[in-house]
């Protein structure tokens, strides 16, 4: 079953809080992982793995470089 945008955003907030220590409230769709949230390439892998566990959608490494904002990830999971 597809997840709503709100569900995915809330889930990503929890994941990013746990992995990168960024408060979930700061995780909003327009935020850039690198520029706004200071998340590096290895943390992006951890976020992708945790998102796969939570939402059942695999995000391969070769896709990660194209997922620049939180919205990009939401769209990828909903796709």
């Amino acid at each position: 079953m597809a997840h709503s945008e709100e569900e995915i955003l809330a889930g990503l907030g929890e994941i990013i809080d746990e992995i990168a220590g960024v408060p979930a409230a700061d995780v909003t769709p327009e935020k850039s992982f690198v520029d706004d949230l200071d998340i590096d390439s290895l943390s992006m892998v951890e976020i992708a793995v945790a998102a796969q566990d939570k939402f059942g959608v695999e995000i391969p490494d070769d896709q990660l470089k194209d997922l620049k904002t939180v919205r990009d990830v939401i769209n990828y999971i909903q796709k």
């Binding site: 892998v45 793995v49 490494d61």
Partner: protein, 317 residues
């Protein structure tokens, strides 16, 4: 046909290590490549590493570490009948390192060979040594991991030169009534061999995100299986000593073992990533600091290019 007489078990009786004297700090590297102490610490976990000089080779570092292990174990060179050197950075393929190492140590006419399973090499070599002793092919084995990675690093590539370093670690394996080396769990994933390779046949290259995902998601079950096969509970471990690839990988795997009491090796912080040398180097240094009492139980996990991996449980001599 007669067969060799088997031994009930094998154990490590001593460890030894060697590190080059030349300490290279993160600040030293910022003079050469566009990086920073903060970036290196947060991405890789290294604060300083040892880099060999021109007169320090895979063979000479193995001799130093092996000699220290022999002395610590109270064995004379003529008691050793098999020498295995785990290395992937020996520049000359012919001659290989092990027989030269044996000769320099005064070990007379042992079986001698090199073993290349990249950063998993020490765990592979220890398993082979244990089996040789148990089956009776050898009585006392010197196992050394020795690497001069600095010769295979592009010192203008900031993604790799901050990680890799040089050094050697050794173990002496002998027959024992009470086993001190558990069953090895090993394997490989050759379909991903291109993920860590020599660029231009010269410089170490790895796909960082892919290697990070592999190591942090697929290897902890290998470590847990080694515990299960040895009959040791995770809660009984004194320490977890994985290959010192990257501090974030080390800590990510450790979190998934269910062994919160276990000391986790963080030798990479001051030794860098020394490939097949990293596990015996870490154990030897931790033992010298009194962190691994005699009889304590340690879980090793080697992993690296190939891709290869291996894990086993050890008792500290």
């Amino acid at each position: 046909m007669n067969l060799s007489a088997p031994a009930p078990g094998a154990r490590v009786v001593a460890f030894g290590e060697y590190q080059p004297g030349n300490v290279v700090s993160n600040d030293d590297l910022t003079a050469r490549v566009d990086t920073s102490d903060e970036w290196i610490r947060s991405r890789v976990g290294v604060e300083e590493r040892r880099i060999a000089g021109a007169d320090e080779t895979v063979v000479s570092m193995a001799v130093a570490a092996g000699g220290k292990a022999l002395a610590a174990g109270g064995l004379s060179p003529d008691e050793i009948d098999l020498v295995i050197v785990a290395t992937c950075t020996q520049t000359d393929q012919i001659p290989h390192a092990a027989s030269s190492v044996a000769s320099h140590l005064g070990i007379n006419a042992p079986g001698a060979f090199d073993l290349n399973a990249a950063c998993a090499g020490f765990c592979y070599a220890l398993a082979v040594a244990s089996d040789a002793v148990r089956i009776g092919s050898a009585q006392n084995v010197l196992v050394v991991g020795s690497e001069k990675l600095s010769e295979w690093v592009d010192w203008d590539d900031r993604s790799t030169c901050v990680i890799f370093a040089d050094g050697a670690g050794a173990a002496v394996v002998t027959a024992a009534d009470e086993p001190g080396i558990g069953p090895v769990v090993w394997g490989s994933s050759g379909e991903r061999a291109d993920k860590i390779h020599l660029r231009e046949n010269r410089y170490l290259f790895q796909e960082g995100q892919t290697v990070f995902r592999w190591t942090t998601t697929e290897l902890y079950p290998v470590a847990l299986e080694a515990l299960e096969r040895a009959g040791v509970a995770a809660t009984e471990l004194t320490a977890f000593v994985p290959h010192q690839a990257n501090l974030r990988i080390v800590e990510a795997i450790a979190r998934r073992l269910g062994a919160p009491q276990a000391l986790v090796a963080r030798d990479i912080v001051t030794a860098g990533n020394t490939s097949s040398a990293s596990i015996p180097l870490a154990i030897s240094r931790m033992s010298e600091r009194g962190e691994l009492p005699s009889g304590s139980t340690v879980l090793t996990l080697g992993f690296g290019a190939g891709l290869t991996y291996a894990a086993q449980v050890l008792r500290i001599p």
